[in-house]
């Protein structure tokens, strides 16, 4: 009978379930990055002149910037000239209906457990599918259009609603915001676009499924969600990638905007390939996500379950401009084997009586390292603003690490911020108790960890909570024995 600690060392990582790749012809731009590539991407997408210029501006900004190194993660330098910045599945034309989708792609989504057609019919969830940065299908579009909701690929939005894109693009995450946001602004190929008109409550979950397939490609998607006055939308993104020995870069930008009394609930289940047990391969997940509560009493809520990627580095944030606006961040981050994560949030309180809540649950196993990094900033005008932060870390084994780095800046005397943090270990007693009732060791770990994360899991839409719960178990397989 080995103790939990001993078997941590014994176990090898279980195979990543989504690690297959699909043989499909791709239309790829040459490797590397220069102004011509940026122009080429823009031309491929048949973009208006102003968009091309906007990209070039971003590219020029990017050239002057340095890759940041303040984060608590380590990786060898990325050679941006070795990356393919554009890869699209070679389809005859953009599919007119779901039946036109390449059968290979369809098969892949089937293997991932999300059959395109069935998902539409059974779950009543509208889904946009993004394949190596290009959107391949959007379900339920017609039904949404009746309500005036625009949901589809970013490219489509640029063709059909250029005025909306131009008005909001880059207003929350400017081109030069940070190194990876600048890179994304220059080369993003697709992503999702959502517009909810005034007073409309979106009747279904909107969902985008991201898949990286090609080798050496980066995925640079761009998501923009606008919720007009009094509207509501719940949006979910899921991500997987094949198992490859090289590291692949995923540098997305997500911008959310809520007007008066509007609410956006944004949920992520991120399961990019994490690399093998020794840390070979895996996705670098360097993402900028930010929401602006522009309107009074508006609300933005981020929920993330981060189990994949070799390195996760992201801080979904809220800018609370409107008086009485609310920002929330619920996070579960799991790192196993050699995974690294530096994640958290920023809550910027500008308006009066703005409130924010942060609940972060970090689970570290194997020799993984994890940092919660969070900023709560209350500006001078943030009269009566409130924040509550709760950061809980759970360690499994004795070779992993958990770090909590809160930054709190308060410039208004009436504003209040609270921070609570705990660190615990999954105990041999808990595991023995479960096992003595017949629950296998791996199920016991999943049970205890899910209990630890319950507050966050409860925030996920029902359909995805079940999936996320399973994913937590799978991610930690082999972490104790």
């Amino acid at each position: 009978m080995a103790t939990a600690l001993e078997t941590v060392r014994d176990y090898a990582a279980k195979a990543y379930k989504y690690g297959f790749s699909t043989a499909i012809e791709s239309d790829m731009a040459p490797k590397g990055l220069n102004e011509d590539i940026v122009r080429l991407i823009s031309a491929k997408k048949n973009e208006p002149e102003w968009m091309t210029e906007w990209r070039l501006q971003a590219y020029r900004r990017w050239l002057t910037m340095e890759e940041p190194n303040w984060q608590k993660v380590g990786y060898p330098p990325i050679d941006y000239q070795e990356v393919y910045f554009y890869a699209a599945p070679k389809v005859r034309e953009r599919p007119e209906s779901l039946d036109d989708i390449d059968p290979e792609i369809r098969e892949t989504y089937n293997k991932l457990g999300i059959p395109i057609k069935e998902q539409e019919i059974l779950a009543g969830v509208a889904v946009d599918y993004v394949w190596d940065s290009v959107s391949v299908a959007t379900t339920f579009r017609a039904k949404l259009e009746e309500l005036g909701i625009i949901f589809g690929s970013f490219s489509d939005a640029l063709q059909n609603h250029p005025e909306l894109v131009k008005k909001y693009l880059g207003t929350v995450v400017p081109q030069g915001d940070n190194y990876f946001a600048a890179l994304n602004s220059a080369v993003f190929t697709d992503g999702s676009f959502v517009y909810i008109p005034k007073g409309v409550r979106c009747p279904m979950e909107l969902s985008t499924y991201f898949r990286i397939n090609e080798m050496n490609t980066g995925q640079f998607e761009r998501t923009l969600i606008i919720a007009e006055e009094g509207s509501y939308v719940s949006y979910l993104e899921g991500c997987t990638a094949p198992q490859r020995d090289e590291n692949q870069l995923h540098a997305a930008v997500v911008e959310l905007i809520t007007m008066d009394d509007a609410e956006i609930k944004y949920s992520t289940v991120q399961n990019w390939y994490p690399g093998d047990a020794e840390g070979k391969g895996g996705i670098y997940n360097f993402v900028t996500k930010r929401g602006a509560c522009r309107g009074k009493r508006s609300k933005i809520s981020w929920t993330q379950v981060e189990t994949g990627s070799a390195i996760t580095w992201k801080y979904p944030s809220c800018i609370l401009q409107g008086d009485d606006s609310v920002g929330e961040f619920y996070s579960v981050a799991v790192t196993n084997n050699a995974q690294q994560a530096d994640t958290g949030t920023k809550m910027i309180h500008i308006g009066k009586r703005t409130r924010s809540r942060i609940v972060s649950k970090g689970i570290s196993a194997g020799k993984a390292d994890q940092t919660y990094r969070g900023l709560v900033r209350m500006l001078k005008g943030a009269e009566g603003a409130r924040n509550h932060t709760q950061c809980d870390s759970m360690l499994i084994g004795d070779k992993c690490g958990a770090h909590t780095v809160p930054y709190i800046e308060i410039k208004n005397r009436t504003a209040k911020a609270e921070h609570e943090a705990t660190t615990s270990k999954i105990s041999d007693d808990q595991l023995f108790y479960c096992r003595s009732r017949g629950i296998s060791e791996e199920d016991a770990v999943a049970l205890v960890v899910n209990g630890f994360c319950r507050e966050v899991m409860n925030e996920l839409p029902m359909e995805f909570a079940v999936e996320a719960r399973k994913l937590l178990g799978i991610s930690l397989e082999g972490s104790v024995g």
Partner: protein, 256 residues
């Protein structure tokens, strides 16, 4: 059903033995009480039977229904029909009591190749059993043992026992921390489980519990072995004389 032969156990990494040649035969339908002073090795015996880590078996054997018990993982022992009601039930924050129980029950069913119970059937059964043991339904939603009083934790163990229906129940100081009323309801719950094909090992310090759960056999353990065995009257004798009076200096020598 259960045969323990010359069992010798020490704590992993420590040379001093805790159990030193312990033998016991338990047949279906029997209730055995094991009594003994602190440090006599009673709880170690319970943990070793359930398969807890951290003990080294240095000698002897345990067979359960013909299987070598020491070869089995804790969850396999549970599937074989062993249940340990713990002295200190563990808290599992964030996991609802009823969810936990259903997971456990279905895991046992799966291991035995039986169909899982439906949510509706499960709840029906849970309600019935809870009522027998005097557990309020609000209990079901609360996290496993988190924030429970000592008495509530023990009742919860008995609820699990009733739901999981093991062949061999081991009660490790189930009476500690219980007031008279709770002791009675817990004992009623245990007695309701008595049947010709189920055996019980009741570990306790005091004779008091045995007024409620009447044993067929009483064993007095001190310093790692059974010093004296008898019928239920042995418990009364022990109550009168004390461990030292009954066993002599060996009882005192074992005080930890």
């Amino acid at each position: 059903m259960l045969t323990i032969k010359d069992l010798a156990v020490s704590i992993e990494g420590v040379d001093t033995p805790i159990i030193k040649g312990f033998s016991l035969e338990v047949k279906p339908g029997e209730v055995h009480a094991i009594m003994g002073p602190n440090g006599s090795g009673k709880s170690t015996l319970a943990y070793v039977l359930a398969g807890r880590d951290g003990y080294e078996i240095t000698g002897g054997s345990i067979t359960f229904d013909g299987q070598d018990l020491l070869e089995l993982e804790p969850e396999e022992r549970a599937a074989a029909g062993i249940f340990l009601a713990m002295q200190y039930p563990v808290e599992i924050p964030g996991v609802a009591n009823s969810y936990f129980l259903r997971q456990a029950l279905n895991a046992l069913k799966k291991a035995r190749g039986e169909p899982e119970v439906s949510a509706a059937d499960f709840i029906k059964r849970l309600r019935a059993k809870a009522e027998e043991i005097g557990i309020r339904q609000e209990f079901f939603k609360r996290d496993v043992n988190a924030g429970f009083s000592g008495g509530e934790k023990k009742r919860n163990e008995i609820l699990q026992l009733a739901m999981l229906e093991p062949k061999l129940c081991i009660l490790d100081e189930t009476d500690s921390g219980l007031d008279i009323d709770a002791l009675r309801t817990v004992s009623d719950g245990v007695n309701a489980m008595r049947s010709p094909d189920r055996a019980m090992i009741v570990i306790t310090h005091y004779q008091r519990l045995l007024d409620y759960i009447v044993p067929d056999h009483v064993h007095v353990m001190a310093d790692g072995v059974i010093r004296k065995s008898g019928g239920k009257e042995l418990a009364f004798e022990l109550e009168k004389q004390g461990y030292e009076g009954l066993l002599g200096p060996v009882a005192r020598g074992a005080e930890a």
